[in-house]
Amino acid sequence: MELEIRDIQKRYGKKQVLKKAGLTAGKGQCTGIIGANGCGKSTLLRVLAGAEKADGGGIFLDGRKISNPSREMARYTGYIPQESVLMPELTVADNLKLWASFGDYRENLKRLADLSDQFRIKDFYKERVKNLSGGMEKRVNIVCALLHEPEILLMDEPSAALDLVFKQELKMYIRDFIQKGGSILLSSHDEGELSLCQNLWAIKEGETHKVPEGLSIEEITSKYIA
């Protein structure tokens, strides 16, 4: 599914975080978003996940304008935010059940079995979330985002807190996901993660800029981040 956004605007109080954000994330592609801290990367992903309402602009899926972004984007996208979406007092299994209950519960549970094997979370199913390490929790968060089989994956610094082994596994999963025709929009500061992206977009002063291919890290940093 191809995702395109045009002139997205978002304001928090007096601060205009996104002035004119636009980008395209092609089907079967991994698109990276870079920018300085607080430039609006997470805000843009939240808008695309339907968790925030944009003040203006449009979101298009396969060329069709989305009329109710909040609901429709939630259906098509899986969002892995920086902040955990799990309830700390409950067990991993309980949290997964809760996220599986959004949508077709039985179908989601079937997928959960596969995803649990893939992300190796079965061993701590009965653990309370508050007792998990950051990496374990992140893995459960990723599974929650994938339960409803989204076609677009929105990842906000996904490998933060993950160990090296799981970072590699996540990369493999990303490759596998885009090979199967899924789209990924990934915000990151990690070179390794960004190396998976076919396209790079930078957000500076609330506006998006396509990063030309072939630029070195130093050039990208000086032009779009510093």
């Binding site: 996940a49 955990s84 309830m87 007092e89 409950l90 059940k97 809760l98 949508g103």
Partner: protein
């Protein structure tokens, strides 16, 4: 939708898992409250006020009569723990002591009181009351004096009968001795048996003794503060998770409704489990007005309503430390105004009036009704709109906070 039901069930599970920690925290709160309760009880019922308030007795002439009155009345079971009598030498001394607050009232025994009783003339004793004392003490003291006067009036019949009997038998010389004996016998028998004064013993609420009253008050306070201990674990903010819930069809209002219902359900369970054994203990150990009955099945509903209120309060003030602190202060204020700590009769008028508008007043009034085994439709009918009102208000606050 299934996700709402799941959210409700998982929140119940969450709160039940938190119960041991909550009970421990509540227990600590309880110790604090017992301290406050003990202090309040001492303040109200200690030497200073009802428990042993001092009454002066001034004998204008018949010191013998006054001494006898003091001795008999002072030994009455119903007042010996409440009033101490002291014999004063003159009205001036009584005035001084009243002004200094050393006595709360004085009985001026009239001249020839014994003769007046014997002759049926009934010269009334003058009672001086110190208005600076609380109304409750004045009322108790006035009741004692009224009861005493009634008893003296009845005593006359016996005295007349004894006089007539002595005269008929030609035992005129024995009349004073017989009268003294009868007076003593009457006072010691009648006064200690009278139920009139016992009935007028300070009633905090109609039909409740103080033990019952403070059992209800302490349970309500203890569990309300226990409910606040849940504060840290309730979700009053709109975080990333909540925003995602919303995008998937579970909005702030609906989410609040489910979470508050789960919170109140667990709180109702906690309330019932804590209060039933305490109530059974009170029933067995005192002359309690509580009667176990079918109406007690309303206890979970009662605590559910209290739970919805506490959850609404937390939603309003927030679940962070500052918010819980504000909730604590609000609860203290509400409870004080509703007479939870000190019965309303002892409160300043403005506070008593303010108390009429806080839910704790209704709960302090409806709980005794339930515990006395009655379940009037009015009480039951009040619970449903109250719970719905608190749930709706909390949901409104949740939506408002989200929009901000």
């Amino acid at each position: 939708m299934y996700c709402r039901w799941m959210y409700f069930c998982l929140n119940i599970k969450k709160f039940i898992r938190l119960l041991p920690a909550i009970i421990l925290e509540t227990f600590l709160f309880g110790i604090l409250l017992l301290g406050i309760g003990a202090y309040a009880t001492k303040a109200i019922y200690s030497d200073k006020v009802v428990n042993k308030f001092m009454v002066g007795v001034v004998a204008r002439e018949e010191e013998r009569a006054a001494k006898m009155l003091v001795r008999f009345i002072g030994s009455m079971d119903s007042i010996k723990d409440t009033i101490s009598f002291t014999l004063l030498s003159s009205e001036k001394e009584a005035e001084k002591k009243l002004e200094a607050g050393e006595i709360c009232g004085a009985i001026l025994v009239p001249e020839g009181v014994i003769d007046s009783v014997l002759s049926g003339e009934n010269i009334p004793a003058t009672i001086w009351l110190d208005n600076s004392y609380s109304e409750m003490e004045t009322e108790v003291f006035a009741e004692f004096t009224r009861a005493g006067a009634r008893l003296l009036t009845t005593a006359q019949a016996g005295i007349y009968a004894a006089d007539a009997f002595c005269r008929e038998k030609g035992w005129e010389s024995r009349i004073p001795l017989t009268e003294d004996y009868l007076n003593e016998a009457y006072f010691s028998a009648a006064f200690s048996r009278t139920s009139l004064l016992d009935k007028r013993e300070v009633e905090a609420v109609k039909g409740l003794n103080l033990t019952d009253y403070y059992t209800i008050a302490l349970l309500l306070a203890f569990l309300s503060f226990g409910g606040l201990s849940f504060g840290r674990y309730v979700q009053t903010k709109n975080g990333e998770r909540e925003k995602l819930f919303e995008s998937r069809g579970m909005g702030a209002g609906g989410r609040y409704f489910m979470e508050a219902a789960a919170f109140s359900t667990v709180f109702a369970l906690l309330g019932t489990v804590v209060c039933v054994p305490v109530l059974m203990l009170v029933i067995n150990k005192s002359s309690s007005f509580f009667k176990p009955g079918i109406a007690w099945l309303l206890l979970p509903a009662f605590w559910f309503v209290v739970g919805t209120f506490l959850r609404m309060l937390l939603q309003l003030t927030g679940s962070h430390a500052g918010g819980i602190g504000i909730s604590f202060v609000v609860l203290m204020g509400f409870m004080a105004a509703a007479g939870v700590f000190i019965p309303s009769a002892f409160l300043p008028v403005w506070m008593e009036k303010a108390g009429r508008y806080v839910p704790y007043k209704i709960w302090m009034e409806s709980m005794p009704v339930i515990l006395q085994g009655e379940a009037p439709e009015k009480t039951i009918a009040a619970f449903i709109p109250m719970a719905l009102l608190f749930l709706a208000a909390g949901a409104g606050v949740a939506v408002w906070k989200k929009e901000r």
